[in-house]
Amino acid sequence: MTTPETVLSVNDVKVYFKFGTTGLFGKREQRYVKAVDGISFDIKRGETLGIVGESGCGKSTLARAVIRMVPAHAGRVLWMGEDLLELDGEAMRDKRKDLQMIFQDPLASLNPRMTLGQIIAEPLKTHFPQMPKSEMREKVAAMMKRVGLLPNMINRYPHEFSGGQCQRIGIARALILEPKLIICDEPVSALDVSIQAQVINLLMDLQKEMNLSLMFIAHDLSVVKHISTRVMVLYLGNVVEIADSDDIYANPSHPYTRALIAAVPDLDKAAPADRASLMVDGELPSPLSPPSGCPFRTRCPLVQDICVSEKPPLTETASGHSVACYFPTASPH
């Protein structure tokens, strides 16, 4: 088996938001919200990287930084070996053909004044303005069929569709240019569970068929487990653990990952006896004044002196399994 090529390589990306900007007279003290604080990862062709973490940990910001929807403060985003952060506007616009995005709120991501056909055709119109109308219509019809939308819906407006159908429209719009990477920003959080499964399975089918790479953001761990090849856990703008999907669920090494997995309710199995001790209390610390050392130390059950003074580096504990913790739970292998 040959290892598939790496399509996206994110290298130490930082996104800081300025806070306490200039006052009316002169400058006030500049402070920064460290939304993403030095994250690195790779995505290979055909692979799905799941990104999990609680609200406010920087998942969406990271995704938006990769496609330059928010400016990155530092770092490199290598797309097929080319740094996206250094491209000028026109070159970046061209690259957007290959990098598409699916949004959280299916209805809000569709312009209410445009018909379904116009919405799906918009990327084509943007990147191939010379394409003849008939060819464009054919492509839209084929894509609609592919995502499970009936051909007679083409002249309808978004408010006439259910959430699941709207998300199919969003997926069709993202796929019409045959991109190589799709960033899914919590694509199923707003849908109810039965529709979630349909949309996820549709995404996985399309991924296989078109050899897509997915960057899949979610806070639902079971959804992430179902779709991901690898999973990355974020906490306060930092990677705390990254590993293969099966591995991270079987052997979570970081105390935060273990707490997250323990918090997943499961009807079949009784809660583990030590569930309560695995849970973490308290709130996510403010990213305005993150804790010194390890970002998780304020809530960590295993905290020691070294956690306060120094930030633990992301180190590989087993093949393909990296943890940022001084006291990771040992993997059995």
């Binding site: 929807m69 990147h127 995502v147 499970g148 089918d205």
Partner: protein, 305 residues
């Protein structure tokens, strides 16, 4: 895969396949509003009178009827026989012809003035809102400064200093009325800018100019239309007030405000019709515009859906 979509319940996916746009929805709601529909019909009638009224006039608006000039109070009243349907004014001119002429001028001031205001206000507000940041700040502070000037005072000064002219009146009214429009549009643009469909378009690589024209402006149309209909009576009122003060349109031209002013000053001689007819047109038009604006707001407000 396709079977899953068909199985999704609760949606009439059969049928003609022709979708209802938001505009069609709004039109249906508007037509259900009786007051608004009646106002619209009356408004169309008034506009028709302004356009075709001169065809039915027995007298020209500049002709003086010497037969009645001697005793206007007793002989100059409304009558079908001598062709003065609305009576004559104090100089013996046919009031029907004068009112039609005034209607043309007042409606023109209202419609053209609000078109200028809406066009300029929308472009200005949408630009400020979409670009944001420092540009937005400078543009909107300029609006604040202009708004703080008592415009009626300035307008009167302009008309006194540069002499009375229609052109100056248009410019004067147009210059002040776009301010409020630009504020409203800017606020709406700020809200629309952060919508996910704008983000989706940006992520696809749509150019900013296209985003403003394809995604922002069409979604602003509702509020623009509502505001425009409310702006027309405001324009007419302003023009009438200026004309009432004697600074607006000049003889032999006239407007509702000028006619009302003349009618009010001769009321003591018992020539009530000189006030009543222009005033009736004026009031009915204002009411119609307000009801139409109200109906449009109810029809286009998405929260109502």
């Amino acid at each position: 895969m396709s079977d899953t979509a068909i199985a999704e319940p609760g949606h009439e996916i059969e049928g003609s396949g022709q979708g209802r746009s938001l505009w069609q929805d709004a039109r249906r709601r508007f037509l259900q509003n009786r007051a608004a529909v009646i106002s619209l019909i009356v408004m169309i009638l008034i506009a028709l009178i302004a356009i075709f009224g001169p065809l039915f006039a027995a007298w020209n608006n500049e002709e003086v009827d010497w037969n009645v000039l001697g005793d206007i109070a007793s002989m100059g009243g409304p009558s079908i026989e001598n062709g003065h349907y609305f009576g004559v004014d104090e100089l013996g001119r046919d009031l029907y012809a004068r009112v039609v002429q005034g209607t043309q001028v007042s409606l023109m001031v209202g419609v053209i003035g609000s078109l200028i205001a809406v066009t300029f206000g929308t472009l200005y507000g949408a630009t400020a809102g979409y670009v944001g940041g420092r540009t937005d700040n400078i543009m909107m502070r300029l609006v604040d400064i202009l708004m703080s000037i008592p415009y009626m005072f300035v307008l009167i000064l302009l008309l006194v200093v540069f002499g009375r002219s229609m052109w100056l009146l248009f410019v004067g009214i147009g210059l002040i009325s776009w301010l409020e429009m630009s504020r409203i549009v800017r606020g709406q643009t700020l809200a629309l800018k952060s919508k996910e469909y704008v983000e989706a378009a940006l992520a696809t690589g749509v150019k900013h100019r296209v985003i403003v024209t394809r995604h922002i402006i069409p979604n602003l149309m509702g509020i623009i239309v509502i505001y425009a209909t409310l702006l027309v009576p405001q324009m007419i009122l302003t023009e009438s007030f200026i004309s009432f003060l004697g600074l607006g349109v000049q003889e032999p031209n006239t407007s509702w405000g000028a006619l009302i002013s003349e009618g009010a000053s001769t009321l003591q001689y018992g020539t009530y019709w000189q006030l009543v007819f222009p005033l009736a047109f004026f009031i009915v038009t204002l009411f119609c515009f307000f009801f139409i604006g109200d109906g449009l707001r109810d029809a286009l407000d998405p929260k109502d859906r």
